[in-house]
């Protein structure tokens, strides 16, 4: 049999298997969990881009605007993460797909650390802003108190912490993404599919 038709057979088999597993509601994350997961992904990638772009800008009005947006997005992620944790508390995640024990442990540690960082990073940014004497006003509407005194040394320290925590978070995001792709393309299990929204109306996958 030619290689390309072997590949086609294999592909068909995989698609069928994935579809069957994706259709199994019990193994899937719920709609709210999926929405919160991807919304968080979009927000943190946007904020990473914004953060890396705004820092080297010369002090121009656009820079002030981007800093403001960066802070608003950060606080939004903080609030969404609490919402996700609350949701997960009341709606347990589906059991993990079959995998070696060390991988299951690694996934658990990675995900727990990511949740922790999604809460801690916005706080570090908020304190950093406070230390430079710049108040944070969420969405331009809700003024938050400056929790630490204006202090250059403290500001420098908090900036370093903010950057280091982000480096850690995005390293974990990288591992998380590579693992999800490995489950999908190598192990061909539904680990990724169950976190993706269903395509098309229910029952149309036949």
């Amino acid at each position: 049999m030619p290689v390309d038709s072997l590949f086609a057979v294999e592909l068909k088999r995989t698609v069928r298997a994935l579809r069957a597993m994706a259709m199994d509601e019990r193994g899937r994350y719920g709609g709210a969990a999926i929405a919160l997961h991807w919304l968080t992904a979009v927000l943190i990638l946007t904020n990473l881009t914004l953060g890396l772009s705004m820092v080297p800008l010369p002090i121009i009005p656009r820079k002030l605007q981007w800093y403001a947006w960066h802070k608003w997005i950060g606080i939004t992620v903080f609030l969404l993460t609490w919402a996700r944790l609350g949701w997960r508390w009341t709606h347990p995640a589906p059991p993990p797909v079959a995998m070696p024990e060390w991988q299951r442990r690694a996934a658990e540690v990675t995900q727990t650390l990511m949740y922790a960082l999604l809460l801690v990073i916005p706080v570090s940014g908020y304190l950093y802003s406070s230390a430079t004497g710049v108040q944070v006003v969420y969405l331009g509407l809700v003024p938050l108190p400056n929790l630490v005194p204006t202090d250059k040394a403290l500001a420098g320290l908090l900036k370093g912490i903010h950057v280091a925590l982000n480096f850690t978070l995005f390293s974990l995001v990288f591992v998380h993404t590579v693992a999800a792709l490995k489950h999908h393309f190598v192990d061909r299990d539904p680990a990724l599919m169950r976190m993706l929204p269903r395509i098309g109306p229910k029952g149309s996958a036949e």
Binding site: L64, T132, V134, Q135, G140, T150, K152, L154
Partner: protein
């Protein structure tokens, strides 16, 4: 009230102060502050000046002979960010190369009652001189020092602080509130 007021008199009477950097009788400069709050995109941004000199003569019974003179080293601004500090010293803002100091000199001091005073004077900033009124409240702290606190608003555009693209007050508000706190020692 009279008792309180009288208790002030000895220390206030002695506040014949050639104040500034040093001097046992002088202004307690480490406890004194010149701070300000501006607004960027509706958000409060705080800062202060690290270096300034003051010559304060305060005689509650002889306000005509009393005076307050301040000289502020604009280059000593503290915004807790090297980047912001470099920016604000640039020509569009303070232009410290050309205008290194801001000055305030009182022209009259009025007693407006209840340990409150109004210091009228001239503020010179970036080559522009304007009249300002600084309301002051006097009180004593726990260690017996006299503390004069007050704040006054100024419009940065009046002094050409923030020119060009920064004259847009949507980004950085025109209003800046200056807060001063002068601590004067009790009579030894």
């Amino acid at each position: 009230m009279m008792v309180l007021l009288r208790s002030f008199i000895p220390s206030l009477g002695a506040l014949l102060l050639a104040a500034g950097q040093a001097g046992a009788q002088g202004l307690l400069i480490d406890k004194s502050e010149i701070r300000f709050v501006s607004k960027q995109l509706g958000v409060n941004v705080e800062g202060r000046f690290r270096k300034w000199k003051a010559n304060i003569v305060f005689l509650p019974k002889n306000l005509a002979k009393s005076k307050a003179e301040l000289e502020i080293d604009l280059g000593s601004i503290d915004l807790a960010s090297d980047e912001s500090e470099t920016e604000i010293k640039s020509p569009s803002w303070f232009n410290t190369a050309k205008f290194p100091v801001a000055r305030f000199a009182s022209t009259s001091i009025k007693n407006v009652g209840e340990n409150r005073y109004e210091i009228v004077g001239k503020l010179t900033l970036k080559g522009v001189t304007k009249d300002v009124v600084v309301p002051i409240a006097l009180k004593k702290d726990a260690t017996g020092n006299s503390v004069a606190e007050g704040s006054f608003p100024l419009k940065r555009i009046d002094y050409k602080v923030g020119e060009g693209m920064w004259s847009d007050t949507e980004m950085v508000a025109d209003d800046v509130v200056v807060r001063i706190r002068m601590v004067l020692p009790p009579l030894a």
